[in-house]
Symmetry: D2
Subunit: 338 residues, 4 copies
C-alpha cells in the first residue's frame, strides 16, 4: 500500500499517521521523498489495514493498493491450476466442460427431452433453473422445489450431473443433497450472507460475475467462498453492463486471459446471458473457447417460442448439435477436447 | 409493445406470431405497414407478455416496450406524492428527512455520542449499520445483533427513529420489532427473495439503488415491494458505477427529477456512499436538495480516523452542524424546511 | 418512428402534432389507441424528421425510433457483403486481412525491419503511425510527414500496402497519394468535418470505433463516409470504455456478429489497443477470428522496450510469427485462410 | 511513479530496468522491499517517462502513477483560482457566468429575439451554434459562416459577448476575430490538432468534457491548451455516457468539487446537453450552482417546436426568466450573485 501525501505536509502530521498505521500492526513503513510529494510505502501484510482510516486525514492525497486484496484465489500463492471434480467429470482439465439446458425447468417432458438431446450432442452437464430471479414481480418465477425434482429425474435418466441456481440460504441443505454444481447468479455475487454459508459446504460452486463487478470484485467474491474452506469454485463470465444497448450485456471475453493469469480457478463462459440473443451464441461460444475458456454454459430449449423465460436467447437442440461440432474443431486448435 | 418485423416477412409468419400473442390474452393487435417495415402494435395490458417468446422468431427484428413495466409505483396511476410516516415524522413532506449517523455501530459511547450530536444539529433520524456488507471477507463485518441493541438504546435516549440495513431474511422479525426504517442496501436491490419477504411486512423500507441499476430496474425493485402490499417505500440514490475512477461512484442527481416524474415515492440521496470522499459531502448535499430531493442520509462519525469502516467518507459532527445551516438556506429556496 | 403520448392528451393537441409532422413531409401517420396510451406510428422515410421538434411538446412522453438511421451502410438495403480491394489484396473476402506494424514509425531501420519480419510471417498489410494522437502534450507525437516517407520506403521494399492514421484534413491530399488505407482513429470517429472530406475521396478508409460509441453511432460515422460517395469502408473494433480498469479498454467481440448482421461492410479487430497489454493479444486475436472478424490490426515492434509509444501492448516479431501459425488453424475452422 | 515487480524478480532484471529508467533522466529510484513484492519508487519529474517502455517487461506487474500528469492546470502549482475575463465580464469571479441562447442560429429574427430575451432576464453571454456536429449526415448542420454573421449582429445590438463552437482549424482566424469565447465541443475534446492550434491564440476557450472522458483526461485536454500558452480556459461539464438510457447523458455534478480541488480553472455546467430534456434543466441548473459551479450554459429557444436542432432540450425565454429568479436565490446562499 502506498500513501501519497499532499504537498508540504508537516512532519508532525506524518508522525501521527505513522502511529495510526503502526496500530494496525504487521507492516513496515518506508518513506519516499519526491520533488513535490512524500509517499509512505507499506510493506508486509496490508490486508488488515482499513484504507478509510487513512484517507480520512486531509493531508492524505490518495491511497494506492499494491497487493491484490485476494489471497486464496490468487495464482501468485497457488501457481497450479485448480481442476474441479464432479464424479468422473472435470472442470478446468483438458476436456472442456459444456453445460447445457433450458433457462427454467417447465415440465418432465421438456427437461427430459432437452437433457437427452444435449447429452447426445456431447454436453457434459445439464443446467436448468428451478428458482428464477426475474426483474418483474409479475414474471414466471420458476417451479421451485418441484422443478428441482424434475431436474434430478432427468439427471438419473441421462447420467448428466446437474447445475442449478440457488437464491436463498434456506435451500442450501436441499441443494447440497440434490445438485452437483450449485450456481450463484450474477445478482447474488455480492450477497455476502449467502457466500459465507456456501463457503462452509463441500460442493462445487459456479459463481457468476455480477453485471457491474470488476474482475477484482469478482475474485473477492470467490475469496469469500474460499475463505470459509470451499475450494471447488468455478468462475463464470456472463456479460457486463456497458453503454451499448444492442445486446443485453457486453460479453467480456478479455476476462478469460486475465482470470487465467490472476487466479488458479477454472472459468467458463455463458454466451446466452452474455448476449441475450440466440443468434450470437455460436460466434461467442467459439470465441470463448479460442480465448482459453474451460467451458461454456448454454441455454438450450426444445421449443424456444413457448419457453417460459429467455426464449430469445435459447438455441434449439439442432443448433446446439451443429455448434458442438464446430466447437470440437476450435478445441483441437487449443489442445483441448470436447 | 411494438413488434418490428424484418423486411418482407411473409403473411403466414405474421399470422403465426399473432396467434402466439393472442395466446397470452388481453391485448389487441394493430398492424402498421411502413415502406420497409411492418410493425405490430399491441394495445392493452402487455405486462403478462413475455418478450422473449416473441424475439425468438427470426423474422422479428426487435421489440420496443411502450408502457413502463411498473404499475404500483407509477405516478401515472397514482398522481399524488406518497408521504411515508414514521411516528410524527414524515419522508416526502415539506420537512426534509435528514438521516445521519455512523457507517457502523462500534460501541455504546460512539453511537450515543453521534446520536446526540446529530440530533442537536437537527437530524430527524439516526442511521447506523449493525450488519455490514464488505467486499473483503477479511474486513470488519459489523457487530450484528449486539449493534442493533446499541442502536435501540441510542434511539430511546435521543428519541430519534432509526434506520439500519438488513442483509438476510432471517432477521426480518427482529428488524420489524426494533427498527423504524429497514434499509435494503445497493447490493441487495435485486435480491428478490428478500424483497418478496419485505413486501409482506408493514414497515417503511429505504431501498437503495444498485450501483448498476437503471432507473427502470430501480423502480421495478420498488414494484416488488409494493406488489406484496408494502406501500411505505423510500427510494435512495447513492451513486452509480461509471468509467470515472476519481470517486467511488458517480452520484446521479439527475435521477431526482426523473424519479419525481415517474413515481409517487419519496427519494433521498446518500452523498457519502455516492462520492466516497468526505470533502464532497457538503457540495453534493446542497446540490441534492436544490435538485428536489426529499432528504439525505449522511455518514457522521465522531472519530473518523478510528472508524471501523468508511472513515474516508464520514464527516465529523462539527462539519455536519455547519452543513445543516447551509442546507436550511437551500431548503428555503425550494420551499422546504429542515 | 413511434410517438408515445402522455395519458389523456386532448384531441386538439394531437391534431397540432400531426400538423407539425406533416410539415416534414413524406410520412403517413397511423394512430394506435391503447388502454392508457395513444401512439402515433409514422410510416415512410422518417430520416428527415427531427425527433427534437416532437419531444419538445410536453404531452409527448417519448419517441421510439423504429428504422435504423443509417441507409447506405445498412445490410437491409445492400444484402451482399462488401469486399474492399487494395491492389490484389482484399478485405472482407475469404483471405483474412492481417495488418501489422509498429505503433509509431521511429526510424528507417525500425520500420523496414518490422515490415520484413511481419511479411515473412504472412501479414498482408503494414501499419505504422506517422501522426500520433497522445493524451499528453508532453508525449512523443510521431515523426509526421518524415514518418510517412519512411513508411512508403518500407512499402516499396516489401511490397506491403500501408495503413496509417490521418489526424487533420490538411493532410488528405498527401495521404491519398501515399497511403493505401487511410485510418481514422477512435478519437476522430465523430470528427464530422474530417469524415465529410474523406467521403469525397476514393481511397479505402479504416474507421475505428470511438471508445464510447454505440454500434449505431459507429455505423452513422460510416454513413457519413458513404453519404459522400466513398464506399470502400473497413470498420475496426478496438475496445470500448467500461468500468473495468484492469485493461485499457474492454474489447467488444460481440460487435462482430452484430456488425455482420446490420451492415455489409467488413470488420477487423485491433487486439493491441483493445486490451493495452501485449500478453492478451494472442488470445484476443484467436477469439476475434473465431467470432467471424475479417482481419486484425496488430502492433508489432522489434524492440518494445525502447518503443516510443505503446510498448506495453506491442508484441515482438517472434511472438507474431507464432501467433500467425495458430491463427491459420482457427481460420481454417471458419473456412477462411490467412 | 511506482513500479510493482512480479514476485521473485531476479536482481539482474531489476538492474536492467533501472538502466532503462535512468536513460529517461531526471528521476531518482528508491526501492521498497515487501514480503512478496518489490517496488521501485521514482521521485522527480516523471512526466517524460513512457510507462509503456516499462510495462513491456514481463517481470513488471503493474505501474502506478502517483503524480498527476497535468502541470499547468494543476492547482498544486497554481493555488489561486483563475478568473477568465471577457471585456468587463468575468468567469470564475463572484458573479456567475450565465450563457444562454439557441442550439443553432437559424435566422436574424430568431437569434436577435432570443438574445434580447435572455439579456432581459440577466444572462451575461449569448451562445449560438453556427457549425453543428450532428450524428447523422442527413441532419441540419448549421448555417456556417452566415450564422456567425447573424450572431455578431445580435451581439452588437445587445452588447452580449458571444460563445460559439469551432469545428475545424481552418476557421480559427475568423473565430478569433468574431467570437468572444471559442467553444470546443465534447466530440473534439481530444482533437489534439485543434487543441494545439487553439493553444497559440489569445482568446478564451470553453472546453467541453468528452462524454467518455475521465476528469484526468479532461484536464489533460486543458493542459494541451495551456501548454501552448493560452491560459484563458473555461471548463464545461456536460454529461457523461453511462448505462442509464432515460437521459441522453448522465450529468456528473460531482465533477464540480473535484475540478475545483484539482485545478485553478473555472467550471461551468451545461444542463441542456447534460440531460437532453428541457424539463430537467431547472433542477439541474439549481443543483449545479449549489454544488459550486461558476456558471451555466443553457439552451433557450423562442420556438422550440420549430427549432432546427435539440428542441427537446431547449427552454423558452419565459421558463428561462423564471429560472434566473430561482438561481439568484441559490447563488446568494453560495455567496455568489447573478
Amino acid at each position: 500500500m502506498m500513501i501519497i501525501l499532499r504537498p508540504n505536509t508537516p512532519q508532525d502530521k506524518i508522525e501521527l499517521l505513522k502511529k495510526v498505521i503502526n496500530n494496525f500492526g504487521g507492516v513496515e513503513i518506508q518513506m519516499i521523498q519526491g520533488a513535490d510529494t512524500t509517499i509512505l510505502g507499506l510493506a508486509g501484510d496490508t490486508t488488515t489495514i482499513d484504507a478509510g482510516a487513512i484517507e480520512v486525514f486531509d493531508f492524505v492525497d490518495r491511497i494506492m493498493k499494491v497487493a491484490e486484496p485476494y489471497k486464496k484465489v490468487n495464482r501468485k500463492f497457488h501457481p497450479e491450476s485448480t481442476i474441479v471434480k464432479v464424479g468422473d467429470r472435470e472442470i478446468g482439465g483438458k476436456k472442456l466442460a459444456i453445460m447445457a439446458g433450458p433457462c427454467s425447468i417447465e415440465s418432465e417432458e421438456q427437461i427430459l427431452g432437452v437433457a437427452r438431446d444435449v447429452k447426445r450432442s456431447g454436453a457434459g452437464f445439464l443446467r436448468g433453473g428451478a428458482f428464477k430471479p426475474r426483474s418483474s414481480p409479475y414474471a414466471f418465477q420458476g417451479l421451485g422445489l418441484d422443478g428441482l425434482e424434475l431436474l434430478k429425474m432427468a439427471s438419473r435418466k441421462t447420467g448428466l450431473p446437474i447445475v442449478s441456481e440457488i437464491m436463498s440460504s434456506e435451500h442450501i441443505d436441499k441443494f447440497v443433497e440434490d445438485v452437483d454444481i450449485i450456481q450463484v447468479g450474477a445478482r447474488n455475487m455480492q450477497n455476502f450472507i449467502l457466500l459465507k454459508e456456501l463457503s462452509h459446504i463441500r460442493k462445487p460452486i459456479l459463481l457468476k460475475r455480477g453485471i457491474s463487478a470488476t474482475i477484482e470484485e469478482f475474485l473477492m467474491a470467490a475469496e469469500y467462498l474460499m475463505a470459509g474452506g470451499n475450494d471447488q469454485i468455478i468462475l463464470c463470465e456472463r456479460g457486463i453492463r456497458t453503454f451499448e444497448t444492442y445486446t443485453r450485456n457486453t460479453l467480456d471475453l478479455s476476462a478469460i486471459p486475465i482470470i487465467k493469469r490472476q487466479t488458479h480457478l477454472p472459468i467458463v463462459v455463458d454466451p446466452s446471458h452474455g448476449t441475450g440473443l440466440w443468434w450470437m451464441v455460436e460466434s461467442m461460444s467459439k470465441a470463448a473457447i479460442a480465448a482459453g475458456a474451460d467451458g461454456l454454459i448454454i441455454e438450450v430449449h426444445n421449443d424456444p417460442q413457448n419457453a417460459k423465460c429467455d426464449g430469445q436467447q435459447s438455441i434449439t437442440p439442432d443448433v446446439f448439435a451443429a455448434l458442438m461440432k464446430k466447437l470440437a474443431l476450435i478445441a483441437q486448435v487449443e489442445d483441448r477436447e470436447i
